[in-house]
Assembly symmetry: C2
Homo-oligomer: 214 residues x 2
DNA sequence: CCTTGACTTCCACAAACGTAGAGTTCTACA
DNA sequence: TGTAGAACTCTACGTTTGTGGAAGTCAAGG
């Protein structure tokens, strides 16, 4: 975002805006071309900055990468906080909380970078799985029905993530056109059903939810 | 002229085991490191072949890439064929047909490569969206309820794809551990509900009333 | 035999990459 | 006002990459 000064070297006048410009450009390039595909020169070019500056701020290409995936700590907390609410409201709340992360420009960038890189890099994928499995699952399991709590949360989360991918990454027209509230009203009940509803194959009309079918 | 090959002489395209080895290695490397991240030398090394052979068979790195994403034509037909079945059976059939594509080693490779590259490459993403939107949507829309048919199919497809990503790419333990039949029984009804069930907020009446949470 | 064309390998090159360090200019603080 | 250090640019090096062509090998037909 910084204008390129012609020929001049040394520190630019005014407050340093370059760091943020580099981060924005990095997220853009990493999500568009992957880790190896994105070049430091292209990122610097987009940011209107000398490539050497990247090394100054982030040391490494991997340093830049991890920095570009960091998101404000209140972001995951917003999703995790849903688990403190009554369990019968999780469906809509969870859906709305997660999709809101993708709506907010501040968190959408890192989120995008995280997901995309997870699909193109085994290490990043391991990190993502670890976060979902351990953090999310551990937080939610105590409040879920005894039969197959892991499978319940996995299908629910997968569903929400799938919607997010379709709307914000694949940009499927029907999902993009839909209003966020419509989407939440549509998906929320399904998520709720996965979380606390009866499971097929077992005693479906069991009101206690106390069945041990597998 | 004894053969139907015309009057051509010389060595015929042999049983060439190298070509297939290259394709397998290419799919492996492309899905693991992305298009730019995968190197022709690494692919050739994995295939136990000289890098020059790749150029001989596929000409280009992009030629190799597109070739590695081609899948047997009967694969998409298996999914599209579901639309010829009664609409009230689409839920389970669609789910099973698509997930089966990921179970079959012959189609899982290209499918994996397609999806992964779509997330790391804008062109591939456009291709995938075009296929889903135009081919799948056009085929299914005539049989769907009049209210929001596109949104119905979009949520349904997104859900199935999300499950596939969680099970076969992210490898979320609960989804991996679950039997395919269990997964179909769990997800199928949800998909069916998206396709033909009532929409929240809308005034649509549900004639067959299969709103049972079974 | 010999010819032919597909298969396979080796060597080489130009471009682009990440990294490195030295040098230049501006801000912050005493 | 002066100085330390952060911000910033320039030039350069070593490596790796995709690509190209020349040359050798092997099976099949004349």
């Amino acid at each position: 975002m910084t204008t390129s000064e012609g020929g001049r070297t040394g520190r630019r006048p005014g407050p340093g805006t370059s760091r943020d410009a580099i981060l924005a450009a990095a997220r853009d390039q990493f999500t568009q071309h992957g880790f190896k595909g994105a070049t430091l020169r292209a990122i610097a070019g987009r940011a209107g900055v000398d490539p050497g500056l990247i090394r100054h701020f982030f040391g490494d290409k991997e340093g830049l990468f991890t920095a570009s995936m960091e998101m404000p700590p209140e972001a995951p907390a917003a999703v995790l906080g849903v688990f403190a609410e009554p369990v019968d409201e999780w469906g809509e709340r969870l859906t709305r909380a997660y999709l809101s992360l993708w709506e907010d420009p501040d968190t959408a960038g890192p989120l995008r970078a995280t997901v995309v890189s997870a699909f193109a890099n085994d290490q990043a994928l391991d990190r993502l799985r670890l976060f979902i499995v351990s953090t999310v699952l551990e937080q939610a399991r105590p409040h879920l029905p005894a039969d197959e709590p892991d499978l319940r949360l996995a299908t629910a989360m997968t569903h929400i993530i799938g919607i997010a991918l379709g709307r914000y990454l694949l940009k499927a027209p029907p999902l993009v056109a839909a209003d966020l509230d419509v989407l939440v009203a549509l998906v929320g009940p399904t998520v709720q059903r996965y979380l606390t509803g009866p499971l097929p194959g077992g005693a479906a009309e069991d009101p206690d939810g106390d069945n041990d079918c597998k």
